[in-house]
């Protein structure tokens, strides 16, 4: 019998070893995990000069567990911030498209057409970007398996799927005669209604996480993303060749967006800065540099746009700068969130300062039953450690000679 296993043969020999072949069957819960390689090696830690549980690398006196992260770093790859930009453009363009269709005059009809085209293309690209990010892309349809209001990702999946369907219908049908045309224009309306949450839900998506920075900016980030979406859509549509009549509408749309983007960006920064450790990634490191670059580009794009002069090159430069600023802002937010998830003190300090559950529940005590307060008193500080103890060199306070 060729499909006999070694265990089967040993069992048949009945040599007293009594091996139960069932012990070799992989049917445990975790045995379903597909493994090609063991997990990559973690970085070894340097020699510790302080007692690990008594200090973090960032703030002495604030305890942490060897400075290891409390949270898991968000897994999202580059396609997700790219989607935040593309989805925002699609949402804002569908809103402008419907506004043009219903308030506009005949000579603006081509711009409305272009808005619908951008919105439709944006929805298609968005879906591709999101599916690429999945751990199991072939199961992307599971996103529409349930409708779960507590999950912004579930809401967003439905909004994007719906928006893609109605925007495509609007793009194809709206110029047709009769009932089909009416259906197309109605679909355009629905596309605009769905375009509004499409431009903003992505901010709810990131702030509805345990990542300290993202959770912290939950009030302002949606406004920033939506303002930025307006600026991005206006700039992108202005980069296409357009007439003077169209320019008059586009100019107002994109400059309003750019001004709102500049103000809401500062609001985001202010909200993040309430806790020192939480706001840090927006000021330091790679994410801080990206955020600064994004701010510079966006402001330059706004200034160039409002400066007098109607040269085409000036317009193109301004809109390109705004686009770069909007894209890098999304990447900066994602990178800064990852950095804040890596820093245990961002989680601890925010919660100790009453920005954890206390913010919504009003509890005055932490989970250890003691009052929330920060910085924490350091245990054992009263008695100076005795010299000659083997661990004295780890002490924050030097032993008395």
């Amino acid at each position: 019998m060729s499909d006999d296993t070694l265990l089967d043969r040993l069992q048949r020999k009945a040599d007293g070893r009594n091996i139960d072949p069932r012990a070799g069957i992989l049917e445990g819960e975790g045995a379903q995990q597909r493994v090609k390689d063991p997990e990559p090696a973690r970085q070894g830690m340097g020699v510790l000069t302080t007692v690990p549980s008594r200090s973090g690398p960032d703030s002495a006196g604030a305890p942490s567990y060897y400075g290891l992260p409390v949270l898991k770093e968000p897994l999202w790859i580059w396609t997700v911030p790219a989607y935040f930009y593309v989805g925002g453009v699609a949402g804002a363009a569908s809103v402008l498209g419907v506004a043009l269709e219903h308030l506009g005059v005949r000579r603006l009809e081509r711009l409305a057409e272009r808005c619908h085209a951008v919105a439709t293309a944006g929805d298609m690209v968005s879906a591709g970007l999101l599916i690429h990010d999945l751990g199991r892309p072939s199961r992307f349809l599971n996103m529409l398996r349930v409708f779960r209001p507590t999950s912004p990702m579930s809401m967003g999946s439905w909004v994007l799927a719906g928006s893609g369907a109605v925007n495509t219908a609007a793009f194809v049908l709206r110029r047709m005669p009769g009932a089909l045309g009416v259906m197309g224009r109605a679909a355009g309306w629905m596309g605009a209604v769905l375009g509004l949450p499409l431009a903003g839900y992505t901010a709810v998506l990131v702030s509805n996480t345990a990542v300290p920075l993202w959770q912290q900016v939950g009030r302002t980030l949606p406004l920033f993303f939506m303002a930025s979406a307006t600026a991005s859509a206006g700039s992108l549509l202005s980069l296409f060749p357009h007439t003077d009549a169209e320019e008059r509408v586009l100019r107002r749309f994109r400059i309003a967006g750019k001004v709102a983007e500049a103000f809401t960006r500062e609001a985001v920064e202010l909200e993040a800065r309430q806790v020192a450790e939480v706001g840090k990634p927006l000021r330091t490191g790679a994410s801080g540099a990206l955020w600064a670059l994004s701010r510079t580009c966006s402001l330059a794009g706004l200034v160039m746009d409002v400066l007098p002069g109607r040269a085409r090159w000036k317009q193109v430069t301004a809109d390109a700068l705004t686009t770069v600023g909007a894209v890098t802002a999304r990447y900066a937010v994602i990178q800064a969130g990852k950095a804040s998830a890596r820093n245990p003190q961002a989680t601890f300090q925010g919660q100790r300062q009453g920005l954890g559950a206390a913010q919504v529940e009003g509890n005055t005590e932490a989970s250890d039953g003691k009052p929330l307060s920060f910085p924490l008193p350091v245990l054992g500080q009263g008695s100076a450690p005795r010299a000659g103890m083997p661990y004295a060199r780890f002490m924050a306070t030097r032993p008395e000679p």
């Binding site: 975790g30 604030a62 999202w76 199961r139 999946s157 009030r219 103890m389």
Partner: protein, 266 residues
């Protein structure tokens, strides 16, 4: 069937033998994580993950245990076997867009591997950093509270293997009573630092209480636990309100741009 089950992990009894880690790996047939040294302590597991559902933390403190003297001077170990908390308000469950994460008849939180599409949202939504996605598998995994054992009235592998009853499994009501009497006992013996972490909604309003709760001796940070965790969903309403505000602004900008731009002089 259907009574609420959970873990009570009494860290004062933990001796750091890691039998729970091994039993968990073995029963659930979890793949290895590579054999790496962290270089910081006896803790070479470092954190919970997709293929690590129990993790023993080794905390070194420059203070003695309350009411104890030892030849080593002012030094003490704290050990804690960490696990998925199976929160009453579970961040992962409320974030899951596919319905892969469900609450079972035992009131535990379970990820259905045949539904999960690996979006990774639960990983960012867990306030304890428990659930994780294995890169080459592409799905999220975490402790199932041995869903395949407790249905047959068996004790989960970790609790079964624990030699000191540091990990106790049972009906939640019974565990609560046992834990409270243990804390009273410790307080009487002079260990007044002892407290229960996440026993119920009163002790931890942000999560509504944990089905796997802990008896700890020091502040939560020392064990790498958040001091005041909150399920992110509790703060979602304010963000949605901002989206509504932004939507009004966006409509106003679009309508205004067209209304003032259609005839204007530019």
């Amino acid at each position: 069937m259907g009574s609420r089950k959970g873990f009570f992990t009494d860290t004062t009894l933990c001796i750091g033998c890691k039998a729970c880690e091994v039993a968990c790996k073995q029963w659930n047939q979890l793949p290895d994580d590579g054999f790496h040294f962290t270089g910081m302590s006896y803790d070479h597991t470092a954190h919970l993950g997709a293929s690590t559902w129990r993790h023993v933390a080794f905390v070194e403190r420059p203070v003695p245990l309350q009411g104890q003297t030892s030849g080593a001077g002012d030094f003490s170990w704290l050990m804690m076997s960490d696990v998925c908390k199976h929160c009453q308000r579970a961040g992962c469950l409320e974030a899951c867009p596919t319905g892969a994460i469900v609450r079972t008849e035992f009131d535990t939180v379970y990820v259905q591997p045949d539904v999960c599409n690996g979006c990774g949202y639960c990983v960012s939504a867990c306030p304890f950093g428990v659930i994780d996605r294995r890169e080459d598998d592409g799905r999220a995994w975490k402790c199932t509270l041995c869903y395949d054992r407790i249905g047959d009235d068996q004790t989960p592998a970790c609790a079964k293997a624990c030699p000191t009853a540091s990990i106790q499994y049972g009906d939640l009501d019974e565990l609560h009573a046992r834990a409270e009497s243990r804390v009273r006992d410790l307080h009487q013996r002079g260990m007044t630092d002892a407290y229960l972490y996440g026993k119920d909604a009163q002790a931890q309003p942000g999560t509504g209480g944990l089905n796997a709760f802990f008896l700890l001796l020091d502040r939560p940070e020392v064990y790498n636990l958040p001091p005041d965790p909150v399920v992110p969903t509790k703060k979602a309403l304010r963000s949605w309100a901002s989206v509504a505000m932004g939507a009004v602004g966006m409509v106003a900008v679009a309508l205004g741009a067209v209304a003032f731009g259609r005839e204007g002089r530019g």
